[in-house]
């Protein structure tokens, strides 16, 4: 039952891809959207079925592995294509298929009129399949396959508008940085093959302690996985691709670059926690990178002018919180924030998409303003999403972010440092997100708004777009209530079997106290944003150059890696390949030609001469060999 549901959940979107691809022009454009949406709804239903069936089992028996066939096999080694359904996988399956079907339904409205809708829906359904493969994998190889395929679908969708050079460049960048992560993960997998002789999660984690005896080994394995995780989740220092990825259509940014794919790194750390726990330094590095990312990207978000890029930097910053939590061992807190973040960040992107759609594709916030009156429902959705992001009660982010803050402060000196970063991040979050809200919605209507939204025109898009936004608004309001500190915690007890938290748990009273502190900080940030961007009683300070330059990461990488690679490749071609390798061939050819002329001269037409010459030639070589042997 559970296994069948898992396969249905996985294969439904793939069936949609095949139907769209084989249907070609015969398939009406709208039908492609319905197929993709319908298939993810089927996936969601299957995931719910699997959830109910799993909840029927006792807590210790909530793991189902279903094996299809040997994917890669030699005689001594075998990797199966197998799926694992356990609480952790179920959480991810529900998020991917649930939020996924909402966002794909939204795209039916958003992509209307686009001539290549079929391609779009085929790609996005392929993404859903790949992501489900990633989260349902029962061994590291299948996980890596899903990992690579989500990267591929991300590449295809970022570059969906093929005629835009910036979109193509962004797509390539995303793929190549993720290829670095894939290679690092492959290295970890080779080590596991060599020392654990298996890649099955059960087998590897069962040997985690014995692998941990060799600290070099376990640190390398964990580091390899971590590099893969930070590449996929756009954490420092492999984060530079995500802002550029905003070149893709907005629903893609919502689904892939906010709600699901980019959180895969968090999932990986939680999934592989037995390995990370044996390599505490690596795990702490993950937490540290998360803290660095949440600060740096929060700061960069302050000076961005493109509405989608602000949200993108915000995504990195929020994933930084999840890394921080996973890095100190608070797995259920990390997953909880992953889930609520999927709700409110998808909401923010989709609401921003409504704005961009209404303004004819304009993404520059400086040209927006005063949209509150023209798009009241979108404004409310955006307000709720922003509130949830900042962590205002009773919205979703309040509960999940405070769980992370409270756990951090209860975990030693390192935890307190992380806590300080996290609380500073709360201030940044409040600043940049309310800056966005005020710039877009408050104040007077800008020229652009007046021009693109003549009076009385329905501005907020078709129902296909507004309905998913409404559902996500409800989720952003209520999603946090599934776990309230001190009152109930079904979420963490559900995950307890798979990922028992090893961080020391804060007391409920302490958690509520810290909530109050972070709330004050957040409100302070909102107040500053209000005075600067809404009331405009204060002048905004000039943006520091370092932030506008995105802390020089792109430039450094260009200088350190890309240009040297190009230069080396170029020099190899012009200094070595052509003059030495290719020319030497010509020399040989020339020699053969001379030899040929000589041969022509001795062509006497007498068979015995030939025989003699051949025999002489061969015997010279033979002699040479006998001597040299």
């Amino acid at each position: 039952m559970i296994a069948a549901a898992a396969w249905v959940c996985l294969l439904a979107p793939l069936a949609a891809v095949l139907a769209i691809a084989l249907g070609g022009n015969r398939l009406p454009r709208r039908a492609a959207g319905y197929l993709a949406t319908g298939s993810t709804v089927v996936s969601f239903a299957a995931a719910v079925t699997a959830l109910i069936a799993t909840l029927g089992n006792s807590a210790s028996q909530r793991q189902t592995v279903s094996t299809a066939f040997g994917l890669i096999e030699t005689h001594a080694f075998k990797i199966n294509l197998n799926l694992l359904v356990d609480p952790l996988a179920l959480v991810m399956m529900l998020v991917v298929s649930g939020v996924g079907s909402l966002i794909i339904a939204y795209s039916i409205g958003y992509m209307k009129g686009e001539s290549e809708q079929r391609r779009y829906f085929a790609y996005i359904a392929f993404f859903a399949f790949s992501m489900l493969l990633l989260v349902e994998a029962a061994n590291f190889f299948v996980l890596l396959v899903g990992w690579g395929l989500v990267g591929l679908s991300s590449y295809l969708l970022i570059g969906f508008w093929q005629e835009r050079p910036s979109a193509i460049a962004a797509a390539k960048k995303a793929f190549i940085i993720n290829a670095v992560g894939d290679a690092a993960m492959a290295l970890a997998l080779f080590l596991l093959i060599q020392h654990a002789h298996t890649l099955d999660f059960g087998g590897v984690f069962g040997q985690a302690v014995s692998l941990g005896q060799n600290s070099w080994l376990i640190n390398l394995v964990a580091a390899g996985l971590l590099v893969g995780a930070i590449a996929k989740s756009a954490q420092i220092p492999l984060h530079t691709w995500l802002p550029d990825a905003m070149e893709g259509p907005t629903p893609v940014s919502a689904l892939i670059h906010a709600a699901t794919m980019v959180t895969a790194g968090v999932y990986l750390i939680v999934r592989a926690h037995p390995l990370f726990e044996q390599a505490p330094h690596v795990q702490q590095t993950a937490a540290g990178l998360g803290a660095a990312t949440l600060l740096a990207t929060g700061a960069i978000a302050l000076v961005q002018t493109d509405i989608k890029r602000v949200i993108a930097y915000s995504t990195m910053s929020q994933i930084g919180y999840m890394f921080l939590a996973a890095g100190i061992g608070a797995y259920s807190a990390a997953m909880f924030h992953l889930v609520t973040h999927a709700f409110f960040k998808a909401l923010l992107f989709l609401a921003a998409g409504v704005v961009i759609h209404a303004l004819g594709g304009e993404q520059d916030m400086r040209k927006m303003g005063g949209l509150r009156r023209r798009m009241p429902r979108t404004f409310i959705a955006m307000l709720i999403g922003t509130g949830a992001l900042v962590g205002l009660p009773p919205l979703a982010g309040f509960f999940s972010k405070d769980a992370i803050l409270a756990t951090a402060v209860s975990n030693g000196v390192y935890g307190k440092v992380l806590f300080a970063a996290a609380i500073a991040g709360v201030l940044l979050t409040a600043l940049y997100s309310f800056r966005l809200l005020f710039l877009v919605f408050s104040g007077d209507e800008s020229e652009l708004v007046k021009k693109s939204l003549p009076k009385r025109k329905r501005a907020e898009g078709p129902r296909w777009m507004t309905a998913p936004v409404a559902v996500l608004t409800l989720l952003a309001i209520g999603g946090g209530w599934m776990q309230v500190s001190g009152l109930w915690h079904p979420f963490s007890s559900f995950l307890e079997q798979v990922a028992p938290s090893f961080a020391s748990e804060p007391s409920a009273s302490r958690e509520w106290l810290l909530s109050a502190v972070s709330l004050v900080v957040a409100l302070g940030g909102v107040w500053i944003a209000w005075t600067v961007y809404a009331a405009r009683t204060q002048q905004a300070p000039r943006a520091p150059r370092a932030l506008v330059e995105k802390l020089y990461f792109d430039r450094t990488y260009d200088l350190l890696f890309y240009r040297p690679a190009v230069a080396v490749a170029h020099r190899l071609g012009s200094w070595f390949e052509r003059p030495v390798i290719e020319r030497s061939g010509e020399e040989i050819g020339f020699g053969a030609l001379m030899g040929g002329r000589f041969a022509a001269a001795i062509q006497s037409g007498l068979a015995r001469t030939y025989v003699l010459l051949v025999a002489a030639g061969v015997s010279v070589i033979v002699l040479l060999f006998l001597v040299l042997r």
Binding site: L156, Q162, I168, A179, F190, Q194, L572, I588, V618, L626
Partner: protein, 506 residues
């Protein structure tokens, strides 16, 4: 009997195609019919093949020059069966493509193609060194003619270089075979192993030219650029595999000692070639240049797998040989499709071809990402197995492989974008049509094979070396014994139940 039929059917085909009078279409159709019949024959041998057995199958032996112990001895092992399959599939695609693009002097052209097919099958099945050499030479002659007569503008220069390189290799190999055979015996199933480094090098140099391995690849770029697309597809897809087959069947099995002693050298050449080829592919100015140098990189990767010589890397190498054969053949045919429409392969004059050409775009993107070994593709499965095996041989050797994974993404995505994206290139006219049905059938069939292998790579990786189940294996993992001895055990020797462990210098 079946093996002989596999060799003789295309020979018969070549003869009848050569003699058949009539229009070009008929001649080509007859050739296609013969290659399809060969395909059917191969499928029937695949069905009847016993993958559990370690012995030579469909074996046939007739005395030829009995004084010297030379015989007509043919048969198939698991891995050679797959290589024959690759040959037949790619050749069928190449003949179909040639038929579609209407080659001049059809009788000679198709007869040569079928002759080439027979010769390659002969190389993969020969169990006697002289027979191997005869088939090897018989394979080269049609190639020289096919490039020299039907090639592009610079064909003479390309042919010249190609002949110079390969003739040097062949002569060296012939001398080596004579010396080796006279002292150790010509029959591969019964010949004794040798410890001579020089004899090993004689074979290795010949195969390294053919593969090619760095730095013996001087002929590669010109030959791949100037051949007709379908011949380039054969050259990089199939002929290069002949060389690796030679390494596997002769160098590794008959020279275990020298292989062991020179392993570091061979691994180093492969590692350098892998990174070097990838870097050159990244700057190559035309489609075929990118594919040619990526072929050099891929062959070096396979070389790494062969010389790391453990069960993971060897199984991966066979898988990757088939993968790369399909991928590079498809890429060269695609290059032909594009050149037919734009009469250029220069990337600077191409671009923007995706608009209005969905099938072309889909084919280029799918084959491109398979070629860069995106996880989940058959190429990734092969690469993963190879590098996992190489990693166990010495972790340092796997690092160039991982670097090359990133470089492969860089050069393939550059190629894909240069063809499909950006603004429309000056050589691309509005009228240039999308991929037409015949082209789609040919390239789509190759893509179908790749996708099937992506879903089930174990079809090849598990069914290449039956003998590998015999060495003792501890628990579920890879035993330390299987690491060193695989090279001997993988190609079993008739008449001796236990493989000799060390090379015996004679």
């Amino acid at each position: 009997m079946l093996t002989t039929a596999l060799i003789c059917l295309p020979l018969l085909g070549a003869l009848s195609v050569f003699l058949l009078p009539g229009p070009r279409m008929w001649v080509g159709s007859l050739a296609l019919f013969f290659s399809l019949a060969e395909l059917a024959l191969w499928v029937s041998s695949l069905i009847r093949f016993d993958f559990g057995s370690a012995r030579i199958q469909f074996e046939q032996q007739h005395s030829w020059i009995s004084d010297l112990g030379i015989s007509y001895h043919v048969g198939l092992f698991g891995f050679s069966l797959w290589l024959v399959g690759l040959t037949v599939v790619v050749m069928t695609a190449a003949i179909a493509y040639g038929l579609w693009s209407g080659r001049e002097r059809a009788n000679a052209y198709y007869a040569l193609m079928l002759l080439l097919l027979a010769a390659i099958v002969g190389v993969f099945t020969a169990q006697d060194l002289i027979l191997f050499y005869v088939a090897y030479e018989a394979m080269m002659i049609p190639l020289y003619v096919l490039i020299g007569v039907w090639g592009g503008a610079g064909r003479l220069r390309a042919t010249f270089k190609f002949v110079a390189y390969t003739m040097a290799g062949s002569l060296l190999m012939f001398a080596t075979i004579v010396i080796y055979g006279l002292s150790h015996g010509f029959d591969l199933a019964t010949a004794q192993q040798s410890g001579s480094v020089w004899l090993f090098l004689g074979f290795a140099a010949a195969f390294a030219v053919k593969a090619p391995l760095f730095p013996l690849h001087g002929w590669l770029a010109d030959a791949y650029r100037e051949s007709p697309p379908e011949v380039a597809a054969l050259l990089s897809g199939v002929i290069s595999k002949v060389a690796v087959f030679g390494f596997l069947r002769i160098a590794l099995t008959q020279f275990p000692g020298p292989t062991h002693d020179l392993r570091s050298l061979m691994l180093a050449l492969s590692a350098v070639g892998l990174v070097y080829g990838s870097l050159l592919a990244f700057r190559a100015p035309d489609i075929r240049g990118v594919v040619a140098y990526s072929s050099l990189a891929q062959m070096s990767l396979i070389g790494l797998g062969v010389f790391a010589q453990n069960e993971l890397s060897l199984s991966g190498s066979v898988l990757q040989m088939v993968n790369h054969g399909l991928v590079s053949a498809a890429l060269f045919l695609l290059a032909g499709v594009i050149e037919l429409r734009t009469s250029t392969g220069a990337l600077s004059r191409l671009g923007g071809m995706a608009r209005g050409r969905p099938i072309l775009a889909s084919l280029i993107i799918s084959i491109g990402v398979i070629s860069l070994a995106v996880p989940g593709s058959n190429a990734f499965a092969g690469e993963f197995l190879i590098l996992a095996g190489v990693f166990q041989q010495g972790w340092g050797w796997a690092i160039p492989g991982l670097v090359a994974m990133v470089l492969a993404a860089m050069y393939m995505l550059r190629l894909v974008s240069a063809l499909l994206h950006r603004e429309v290139g000056e050589a691309v006219t509005k009228k240039a049509p999308d991929v037409l049905l015949p082209e789609l059938c040919v390239i789509g069939a190759l893509l179908g094979c790749m996708l099937a292998l992506s879903v089930w790579p174990a079809a090849i990786s598990k069914h290449s070396f039956a003998c590998l189940s015999q060495p003792p294996v501890t628990s579920a993992g890879i035993s330390s014994q299987s690491k060193a001895q695989v090279g001997l055990a993988c190609v079993p020797r008739a008449g001796s139940t236990t493989a000799t462990t060390t090379g015996t210098a004679k």
